[in-house]
C-alpha cells in the first residue's frame, strides 16, 4: 500500500513531465475522499472536483454494467474549452484525477506521463 508521500511523489513526477499542470489527486472511489492531492490554483477546489468525479466514475461503471460490457474501465478523458481532464483507474477502488491547461500539453503526453508514473503504485 502506497503512503500519502508515495502518492504525492507520483503527482510531482507527473507535474514535472506535463506542461500546464493545474491539479491532480488520488481518490478513493467508494467515499470520494482524496488520498493525496495537489492543486496549483487556489480557485480550483480539488476536494469538490474529486468527490464529484468519483460519482462520474461510478455512473460510468453502472453504464458498463447496463450494457453488459465484460471489460474494465481504464481511463476517462474530458476535454473542456481550455483544459484537459483525465481520470485513470489505478485499482478497482482508486483513481487518479488530473487536470491541465490545454495550451500547455496534449492528450498523448498526459496519458503517457500518467501511465508511466502510476503503474504499480497501489
Amino acid at each position: 500500500m502506497a503512503t500519502e508521500r508515495d502518492l504525492m511523489d507520483a503527482i510531482a513526477r507527473i507535474e514535472a513531465d506535463v506542461g500546464g499542470f493545474i491539479a491532480a489527486s488520488f481518490v478513493d472511489l467508494e467515499s470520494g475522499m482524496t488520498l493525496a492531492a495537489k492543486s496549483n490554483r487556489s480557485d480550483f477546489d480539488l476536494s469538490v472536483a474529486s468527490a464529484y468525479n468519483s460519482e462520474m466514475v461510478k455512473q460510468k461503471l453502472k453504464i458498463m454494467k447496463a450494457l453488459n460490457l465484460k471489460t474494465t474501465l481504464e481511463d476517462m478523458l474530458l476535454t473542456l474549452g481550455d483544459q484537459i481532464h483525465l481520470i485513470r483507474m489505478i485499482t478497482p477502488g482508486t483513481f487518479l484525477y488530473f487536470a491541465a491547461d490545454k495550451g500547455g500539453t496534449n492528450l498523448a503526453i498526459v496519458r503517457t506521463a500518467v501511465t508511466k508514473h502510476t503503474t504499480g503504485l497501489l
Binding site: E4, S47, A51, Y52
Partner: protein
Amino acid sequence: MVVLDPESDCVVIRVVYDGPPEAGKTTSVRALAGSLGRPVFTPGQIEGRTVYFDWLDYTGGLFEGHRIRCQVVSVPGQSSLAPRRRALLRTADVVVFVADSRREALLGLPGYLQGLAGILSGVDPPPVGLVVQANKRDLPGAAPLDEVRRRLDDAALRVGIVESIAIDGSGVRETFVFAVRLALDRAREQLRSGRLQSERPRVGSGEELLAELKDAEGGALDLAAADGLRHTPLHEVGPSLAGQALADALAHEQAAPRPMGRVWRPAPAEEQPPRAPDPAVAGGLIWPPVNGRLILHETAGLPLRLERGAEGDWCGTAGGRWTVQAPAHAGFGDLERGRTALVDWARIHSASGDALSSERCIALAEDHGGGWRLWQIVREQESLRDVLERAEAGAPAEAARALAACVDHFLEAARFFPRAACRLPLTLAGVAASHPRAPFIGLMPAPAFVRPPEPCPEPLARDLLARELGPHLARLLGGRDAILEALARLPLHEGGAATDLLRERWATS
C-alpha cells in the same frame, strides 16, 4: 450520531481518535490537518497535553449525493480524564485507535481495547468501526505487524490495522480515509433502516463541543485536569478503564430470524481463480457492514492462494488466519441478483446468532469478466479435531482430558447447532475447542445447499460422535488402558460421558 444536515446538504460523521497517553493522537490529528490544509482547534492544553480534545473539521467526498463533513475529534489520554474520554467516544461513528507499537507499549493494549469495546457497545447500532493505527513504526523496538496483530487477537476484537509514523505524517491520511469508509458503512445501514436523521448536528464546531462538555461536566473534571494531569502508562490504565467501561456495556441488538434464501443457478465452470474481495468492495455488498470491511482489510494484506475444491468451490487460506471461500453455484451475471443472494445469505447468518462463530463475514465481489461472486471469510480457530490430533502425541492423561473435553463440547454443539437458521454439519473439525458454547467454526453451507435445521437428539449425537472419533480412537488404541484409567481419575462430570463412550467403542474394536 450520523446526521444529514439539511442546511448544508452534508452527511455529518464523527471520527474519534482514541488511544493511550502519548501514543500520538494529537500528533496524528495535526498531521492530518496539515495534509488536508485545515486548522486544528485545541482548547485548554496544559504542558502540551490535551485536556479536552483536538477538533478538526473537513468536508470532502460524497455519500449518496451529499457532501461528507467529517468532525475529527481526539480524546484526552490521561486516566484522570476518563469520563471526558468516554463522553467523546460515545459520539463516534468510527474510532481510530492510535497505539504505540513498540513491544513494551503493547503489553496493556488488549485490556485498553476491551475497555474501549465496552464503551462502544453502549452506542446504538449499527456497530462503530474500529481502526488501529499502529504508530511509531520508525522507532527501535517497534514490534512486527504480526506481533501487533497477535496482541489484538488477545482482545478478541475485529479491527483494521494501518501502520503509521504520525510525526512525519506517514500512514495518517490512509488511516483516516479507511475510517471514513467504515463510518459511511454505518451511515448506509442507518439510511437503510430508516434511522438516518435529517437535522442540524447537535455540535457544529469545536467551540460548541467545548461548551457542551463543560455543561455536562459542571466543572467536575477541571480540578482533575489541572491537578491530576500526569503521565499514565498504558499498563496502568488498562484494567481500571476496562472495568469501568465494561460495567456500562449493553448487549447488541440481535436481528430477528428471517426466511430462507432461494436456490441459485449454477455458475459456469472455470479454471482461472476468481478475484477475491478486497476492502474496496462497495458499501451494501458486505455483511456485517462495518466489521466485514475490517475483515476484508486484514485479509487483503495477507498472502492468499485459491484452489478449486472437489465440490466446485474456490477455497484458500489467507496468512494462516482466515479461510476464504467462494462457494460453488454462487456466481451471478448481474449485480441485482447477486445482491439478493447476499441479503438472503446474510439473513441466514444473522438469524443463526451464537450458533456461529462471530469472526466471519460474507461479501459480493466483482469477478473477472464483469460477473459477481459470493464469498465467505471465516477466522481459523482451534477445533475439537485439532485438540485430539495434538493429544494423540501426548501422555495418556492429556489424551484423557482432551477426549473428555471433546465429548462434552461435541454434545453441547449437538444441542446448540439446531438453533441456527440452517443445518450445520456436526463434525469435530467444525466445533470450536476453546469456547464454552462450542460455536460452529466451519464454512457455512453454500447458498445452493442450505437446508432447514433439524434437532439432533442425544443418541444420534453420540452415534455421530462415535463415528467422528473412530480414526482417533484407532490411533490411541495402544494406550487404551492408561487413558481409561486417567479418565476414571477425572471428576465424574468431566469424564463420565467420555468413559462410557470409549469403553463401548473400544470394546467393539
